[in-house]
Symmetry: C2
Subunit: 130 residues, 2 copies
């Protein structure tokens, strides 16, 4: 599986689908977006921090494991860190596969495992100013 | 749920995610792409035809049903008809929801039901020229 992993402090600009070559029949994207409510409080932004080198390595290993299990062609993950305003994307994943079931399964499982295994944390909820 | 349904003869240009307002924490997209192999033959393109008015109505009803069941905020479907070359998108769906499970479930179920219920057919496989 082709794997690409990026951590960035910039606003995520989602890449074009990797569907060249005629083998990919399904492309699934997921974006995790900062919501206005966090633990019952209204917020303006969340701050994320990462243990960068380890986070990239663990994400790559996770994608290798899930790609082998689900038989996907490519996976691209971008995680933003720093202060992320409400409505903007904190995590983006795009997966290409022969058929949709594999890509949907990989995305669902990746997101469950990301929260458990990858050293990226929400460090601060930034309240709205009145 | 906000619903938008389009049939088009043009190449699909995917819209920006509908994640405004702070309530949407998850955005899921699926693109069904024409593959180079169809029923064991190498093809250059597939042709799709639709019973347009009915197809749009059935897609809308299906999204209303699934949106109510899974509690999503918005769904946008674009289905292309006519001749679609290998590597280009035949069907695109984007779904916004509070959390990822709802949007992933809606997309998976929508694609299963689309093939059963919606009057859009592959009418022709166009072979590659030697």
């Amino acid at each position: 599986m082709n794997i690409l992993v990026e951590l960035t402090c910039e606003k995520i600009r989602r890449p074009e689908p990797a569907t060249d070559g005629g083998a990919v029949g399904a492309w699934v994207e997921f974006a995790g977006v900062v919501r206005a409510e966090e633990d019952g409080r209204i917020v303006a932004a969340l701050e994320y921090e990462a243990y960068d080198t380890m986070a990239e390595r663990v994400i790559r290993e996770l994608l290798e494991e899930l790609g082998a299990r689900h038989g996907c062609a490519s996976a691209h993950v971008i995680h933003r860190v720093g202060v992320i305003p409400v409505g903007e994307t904190a995590i983006w994943i795009g997966v290409g596969s022969g058929h949709r079931q594999e890509a949907l399964a990989l995305v669902a499982e990746f997101m469950d495992r990301l929260k458990q295994d990858v050293p990226i944390w929400k460090t601060r909820a930034i309240p709205t100013t009145q």
